[in-house]
């Protein structure tokens, strides 16, 4: 295993994903440092979203290994990855439509006492204390995101931007170590996406690691320390955005597609 478990949180090693004859991801390797924001960019069809789906556990890889926080998680199903702190959001924000906004946050916490066999058998007194703490954490998050007034509304009634916010709050309720974001700014108004950018920078400052797929290169420029460029299922180049913009190879990939 390459990389040092101390500074590297995610180590993707020669990852491949084939669909029939199509090599959507074709031997991709890169690392994500602890507390950093890493960008994954590339033209349409480069395999970024597939790579993210494989890392998140939604799709199983054809070959390659994924190490997270010092452990090999290649065989972990999605929910097990979430439980060790590798949490993903979706390109199209997915909320639990019939639950209220605050319930969407509460439900996300893994291994709640009230979900366990003991909690079901013993009843409310067993989980009431933990539940109270979760409600407080959820309310605090809703305040931070300015959504307290929506707490008891069904999530299906929220706007697109609000749903995106719910998804990110839901991820934060899980106290993740690494957050995978698939085009988090897509569909947000410019002012909202600036707010989200500030939020992500603050989270990274607090020690959270982020890996994001993003189309908008200016956003990537502002957020990401390291950027991995993919084209046709492979890693083309990696480095800082400012350097990459000058690279002939990267420019060609974007022009040719």
């Amino acid at each position: 295993m390459s990389g040092d478990a101390g500074t590297v949180i995610l180590d993707v090693d020669r990852l491949e994903k084939h669909y029939g004859g199509v090599h959507a991801v074709d031997g991709v390797s890169f690392t994500v440092e602890r507390g950093s924001i890493t960008g994954l960019i590339g033209p349409n069809g480069a395999g970024k979203s597939t790579a993210l789906a494989v890392i998140g556990g939604y799709v199983s890889p054809t070959a390659g290994r994924i190490h997270f926080d010092g452990a090999d998680i290649t065989g972990y199903p999605m929910h097990a990855r979430a439980r060790v702190g590798l949490v993903r959001t979706f390109q199209m924000a997915r909320v639990f439509g019939n639950l209220t906004t605050i319930e969407n946050l509460l439900v996300a916490v893994p291994r709640q006492r009230g979900e366990s066999a003991a909690g079901i058998l013993a009843g409310k007194w067993f989980w009431r204390g933990e539940e109270r703490q979760l409600v407080e954490r959820a309310r605090a998050l809703l305040d931070t995101f300015g959504m307290s007034t929506k707490a008891d509304d069904p999530a299906r009634t929220l706007s697109g931007g609000q749903k995106r916010a719910v998804e990110i709050m839901r991820a934060l309720m899980m106290k993740p170590k690494l957050l995978l974001l698939d085009e988090p700014m897509a569909g947000l108004s410019p002012s909202l996406s600036r707010q989200l950018e500030d939020m992500l920078i603050r989270l990274a400052g607090d020690g959270l690691s982020l890996l994001l797929v993003e189309h908008e290169l200016d956003t990537v420029d502002r957020l990401c320390g390291k950027v991995v460029v993919m084209a046709q299922g492979r890693v083309l180049s990696e480095g800082r955005m400012a350097e990459l913009r000058l690279s002939r190879e990267v420019q060609d990939a974007y022009v040719i597609g």
């Binding site: 929910h79 019939n98 509460l106 009230g114 909690g119 079901i120 109270r132």
Partner: protein, 322 residues
């Protein structure tokens, strides 16, 4: 007296229907698994109850053949029925483990229901084929018949009470919330660390136990059980109660069970008396059931009493979701 007998029958049917509808609502309304083979777990409970009380197959002159054959006490036989429902429910749940579209899973379960009925009907050595099992002993045979009838009603009522308390443990609180999240979006639920497959199997087992208990109580009351009692469309009757009453709402589906029962009894009365086709009222009942299901899905998919979510006002949160 006739009306009293009628009342007893109605109460027992209502109680056993409630148990089954609660189980199906936990699976479908709360957790999003459209178990179109639900009647199979009811049948599993009924057959198990029969086998556990009938004694060896050679008894009664050996006119019916079946596997096993014990003489367990009534409460144990009921428990065995519930357990059989749980096991069969879990097995049916296995067909839904692949990450398939929900409608596709539902059709797979429908086929399971058709198939189990075909197999049981065809093989006379297993559960006496299409003739089914008869002479299932009444647990209160020693009592005066009138007392025995009401004793049975009391047993059913007690089972419903226990059943409701168990049900609420699963439909309220954090676990109820988690199951509903899985229903609304199972991919997002696994991204939130929920073991969707494990949860589904647990739900199938618990819902199956409800169905099994319902079937066991029914078999003990009627004294017989055969494939004609669990045709695949019987699942639709329970499903109608869930959809009409309000998917995911315990109060709603209980009301739905009442509404459907009244609707069927009343609807059949509108029918002109046609002596030549005695089965017509039953046929008409199925038409009413199918129609009310479609009408509700069209005009009021949330049902009469829709699912309600709890509010979390400040620190003192109250938990009483529908």
């Amino acid at each position: 007296m006739a009306w009293e007998y009628y009342l007893v029958v109605m109460l027992v049917y209502l109680g056993t229907d409630l148990l089954a509808v609660w189980g199906l609502n936990l699976e479908f309304g709360v957790s999003g698994v459209a178990n179109l083979a639900y009647i199979v777990v009811v049948a599993a409970g009924a057959y198990t109850f029969a086998i556990c009380t009938l004694g060896p197959s050679s008894g009664n002159g050996g006119f019916q053949t079946y596997i096993g054959g014990f003489t367990l006490p009534f409460p144990l036989a009921l428990l065995a029925g519930a357990l059989a429902g749980a096991v069969v429910g879990t097995l049916i749940g296995v067909t839904g483990l692949k990450r398939l579209r929900q409608d596709y899973q539902a059709v797979a379960m429908l086929v399971v229901s058709l198939m189990v009925a075909t197999v049981v009907s065809a093989d006379t050595g297993f559960l006496n084929g299409s003739a089914g099992l008869a002479l299932i002993p009444n647990p209160f045979a020693d009592l005066d018949p009138e007392v025995a009838r009401w004793a049975y009603v009391a047993v059913v009522a007690f089972c419903c009470l226990i059943g409701f308390l168990v049900l609420r443990r699963f439909t309220t609180g954090p676990i109820g919330r988690t199951l509903r999240a899985m229903r609304d979006d199972d991919t997002a639920a696994s991204a939130a660390g929920k073991n969707v497959i494990g949860l589904r199997l647990v739900v199938q087992a618990v819902g199956g136990a409800f169905g099994g208990l319902s079937g066991a109580l029914l078999a003990g009351f009627i004294g017989g059980w055969s494939p004609s009692a669990w045709v695949y469309i019987e699942t639709l009757a329970f499903l109608s109660c869930v959809i009409v009453g309000g998917m995911g709402s315990d109060r709603g589906v209980s009301l739905g069970t009442l509404i459907i029962a009244v609707l069927l009894l009343q609807g059949v009365q509108f029918l002109p008396q046609i002596s030549s086709s005695p089965g017509l009222s039953e046929d008409f009942g199925w038409i009413i059931l199918g129609a009310s299901t479609i009408i509700f899905i069209w005009f009021r998919p949330q049902g009469v009493l829709p699912e309600r979510r709890p509010r979390y006002l400040g620190k003192s949160s109250s938990h009483s979701p529908g």
